[in-house]
């Protein structure tokens, strides 16, 4: 993106406040930042996002990319974020011809931090086939161990979700935001802005729930394996089946539940059952 005019409007992800605990004692507690950022695409107001604010340019670009409002990174000319006015100005050489129609249709999804899908995105008729990535149980466990080194904001402040682009057990990129949607969009934006190695990702990890639009966004990124620390919803499973995603939920420690695409999961590291061992539901 050598030709793009890009701001670097970073803000701290957390701030300290004083709270009173159950013992009546005051103490300092970090909380997650939450900031409004209104996106203007070629001077057209698109939406206002509530975000942690740690990587707003990537968030804005990834949001527009995942909403289908930006089709080609080479069209991007300007991404300027100004926290003084809580605005992001994006200039592109081309707008979708059906922009107005897309903006006219809103689907409020289960997204944390990004609950709106414009247009008919959820129909997603134009997805290219996903790679039939094989995942070994031993690699999944190594990946979960490696991910433990991330989610700094969550550990200090909570109230955020983390998302990661991974290549097998290697974590290529990790983003936290007040919403898992901002996080996945920021990852998608970084792919475009930084041309990062995360473009080679074959596994997507999220601490958040696997709802319809999360599965859709990961499928749009061309990734065939989706791993979540949390649960899944009905539509999330339906889309995983439609797109052929290997869907793994409740992945924590040695536990997980493969929901779809089990054929691509190699159980090469089945844990030994200890006496009285229970499988977490």
């Amino acid at each position: 993106m050598h030709d793009i005019s890009l701001s670097r409007a970073r803000l701290p992800a957390t701030l300290e406040i004083e709270v009173l605990d159950e013992f009546g004692e005051a103490k300092q507690q970090a909380i997650a930042a939450e900031r409004a950022l209104t996106i203007y695409l070629n001077k057209r107001e698109i939406v206002t996002l509530m975000t942690l604010g740690a990587d707003p340019e990537a968030l804005v670009v990834g949001y527009l990319r995942n909403q289908g409002l930006l089709a080609d990174r080479r069209d991007l000319q300007v991404v300027h974020v100004d926290w003084e006015v809580e605005a992001a100005a994006v200039v592109t050489r081309h707008l979708p011809e059906d922009l107005e129609e897309r903006l006219g249709q809103r689907t409020v999804t289960t997204g944390c931090g990004q609950g709106t899908v414009f247009g008919r995105l959820l129909e997603a008729t134009s997805l290219r086939p996903l790679p039939a990535t094989v995942l070994r149980q031993s690699v999944l466990y190594q990946l979960l161990d490696n991910l433990g080194a991330y989610n700094e904001t969550y550990r200090s402040a909570g109230a955020v979700h983390g998302c990661a682009l991974c290549r097998q057990e290697a974590v290529l990129d990790f983003v936290e935001d007040v919403g898992r949607h901002n996080a996945v969009d920021t990852l998608a934006g970084r792919q475009w802005l930084l041309a990062s190695e995360s473009a080679d990702a074959d596994i997507f990890y999220t601490t958040g729930r696997l709802t319809s639009e999360m599965v859709l966004k990961v499928a749009q990124m061309g990734i065939g394996v989706l791993v979540s620390r949390s649960g899944v919803t009905q539509k999330g499973v339906e889309l995983a089946e439609r797109f052929g995603v290997l869907l793994i939920a409740r992945a924590k420690g040695r536990h997980f539940q493969a929901i779809h695409g089990m054929g691509r999961l190699e159980l090469d590291a089945v844990p030994a059952r200890r006496p009285g061992d229970r499988v977490r539901a």
Copy 2:
């Protein structure tokens, strides 16, 4: 609401799927339903919500109420939900004069299950003063114990948030949905449709995070005490300060953190410290 034409389109909140666990064993797992429901207000398409589907009429009415698109329950004439076409038809005697302007402005919030706030809702300049409800620590603990009997869907399927309207330690109404926003809106809708006793609520509880629009919606309901099992964000705290909400986060077991309005919290049940007892951050 004797004069309102109201459907009762209930659907099960969970369904069973077969999953493969880390031992390579197939088992049945309940997952949360997630359904699309498009709201038409006087034949005008407003939005599509993704919801559990357990109480769609109340969700739709509460959504329109909390968005400021329905000002008076007495204006409501029809609320018909048809899952065949995933649509909710709402007819009201009066629409806000600035409807188009409101619908033109979208703020995508951190809402899980309902991430859009139309218009300038977050500015909320027209809130009436909130009651200065006093909360005793012993009452909070009793309430948390009482709440343990709820969140059935979460226990079986996860991937949902619960919200409750409470009067002191009594749980008046409890709703779960794939998003905490659907849950709080459904509670607001039930107040209108059922004229339920939950109108007397003085405490709001949620399993979800206290972000800006959650604090705003509870303040709109005229409730001065907000308790969450989860964390808070910066804007959630800012709004609590602006509206004078007693804000309590991380309320679980005997732990909690009072974030704002501590003056209305009576510490009448301070736990005994056990040796090595730690206060959870």
